[in-house]
């Protein structure tokens, strides 16, 4: 970034001690994350999700057990690791939550309005999407991320995702890259992975969706983008829209080949 000379003189250099101290704190935060990962309530959400997967709902009073997540009706093993991908029946690229919504409306006959009334839950009452995401993502643990990139619409979605990543808009002129653009940057104590680079995207995409200790909630990627756009001071993205799926698709392709090890634990 070009800085005018006056501004460049402004940065009071960080002494060696303070650089070392920053190094320690990064190491200690890594230990914090590793310790909270050892004992995580995320598994409680997987149990809830399993019950919801089997629960008959909607006017057609059927469960989601026939839902085709890309590997055939009802096949859960490794399905999450191959999303987002193109689905012929819906003629569009879908991530897990968009695909679940599709099954809720087609298989269970539920209206989109009812099924999306509460897509983001609370600590007291997690949403269906959150618990289902925990359960289904867990079925891909140990499998390599392999999102779709062969279909024309998959390539289009990837290109749109990449353009969105660098698209500056909103009252504060932010793009994703404004915060996730340079190595070693932090907001407060929160380090910011450079998600358009594979080595930074891999550990992140491999551990979403995740349990967030700060509010005891299980959070999904659709929520993650929703909350980022909120802080970018833009209007709200539609749940499961092509733009949100394109961004998730772009980051997942950037991280492809990594072994999925979620659901994870986040601050």
């Amino acid at each position: 970034m070009r800085r005018i000379v006056f501004g460049a003189a402004l940065a009071v250099g960080c002494t060696a001690a303070c650089a070392a101290q920053a190094q320690d704190s990064a190491k200690e935060i890594q230990r914090y994350r590793q310790m909270i990962a050892e004992g995580s309530p995320a598994e409680l959400f997987e149990l809830e999700g399993e019950a919801l997967w089997k629960k008959t709902q909607g006017p057609k009073n059927v469960s989601l057990e026939k839902c085709d997540l890309g590997r055939g009706p009802g096949v859960l093993k490794g399905a999450y690791a191959r999303l987002p991908r193109y689905f012929k029946d819906a003629d569009r690229v879908m991530d897990l939550e968009t695909r679940l919504l599709y099954c809720m409306t087609t298989l269970q006959g539920r209206s989109r309005e009812e099924a999306t009334k509460r897509v983001f839950g609370t600590a007291d009452r997690p949403s269906e999407m959150e618990s289902l995401s925990a359960y289904i993502a867990a079925q891909s643990r140990g499998m390599k991320l392999d999102p779709g990139m062969s279909q024309p619409k998959e390539k289009e979605s990837y290109a749109l995702g990449r353009a969105l990543y660098f698209h500056r808009a909103g009252s504060w002129d932010f793009s994703c890259a404004s915060c996730h653009g340079e190595e070693g940057k932090r907001i407060r104590m929160q380090d910011l992975p450079v998600l358009y680079k594979p080595q930074a995207a891999r550990p992140v995409v491999a551990t979403w969706p995740a349990y967030r200790v700060s509010n005891s909630q299980f959070k999904t990627m659709q929520w993650r983008l929703n909350d980022c756009y909120r802080q970018m001071r833009t209007p709200e993205p539609n749940f499961g829209s092509e733009t949100t799926v394109a961004l998730i698709h772009f980051m997942t392709v950037t991280a492809r080949g990594e072994t999925y090890r979620g659901p994870g634990n986040k601050r």
Binding site: V12, A163, A169, G170, W172, D173, S178, I187
Partner: protein, 197 residues
Amino acid sequence: MKRAALLSACVALQAWADPSPTDVQKLMQRDFHPRGQATMERLAQDGVQRVCTETRDRPPAEVAKALEADQMKTIAFPQGASLMGDWKRGETIAQSGRGLTWNDKPGEPGGGSCYNCHELSPQEFSHGTIGPSLRGFGKSRGASAEIQRYVYGKIYNAKAYNLCSQMPRLGLSGTLTPEQIKDLVALLLDPASPVNQ
């Protein structure tokens, strides 16, 4: 007009495969909806946002200079000798991340979110590193009228000094009032401020 010619020159730089900023803007306008005070107008890119998007924040020098000059004209410097308010209020403003989101109530005082990106007073352990550390900023620069004006202007509209800076245009966007900006100027320049201890 010269500036339009300069702008169109940038379009060629951007990779052909990705949709153009205009295409992306249309898709966002289709896929987003207003909520609270966050209205759809916010998705309409202005010249600064479009050029910085197209050039991945590396605009050609003469384009940057021309657009920075435009942005400088937007800064309304308050009258009066001093642009320094109360650094104690400045610290509260720097700590607060509120303002302009869809769950902030309009009219409620916003914050500068300064600690998100900058180190300021040494007591605050949890500070960001996207922006440079501002510790001791006033100690080495004094508090002359000229430096007060620079700091006020930079907070009001950072793009007037560095076109594709990641720093939000806190004054122009209506996030902070002139009084709040003057309190932040004091936080940075007032010798009594913790930043300068």
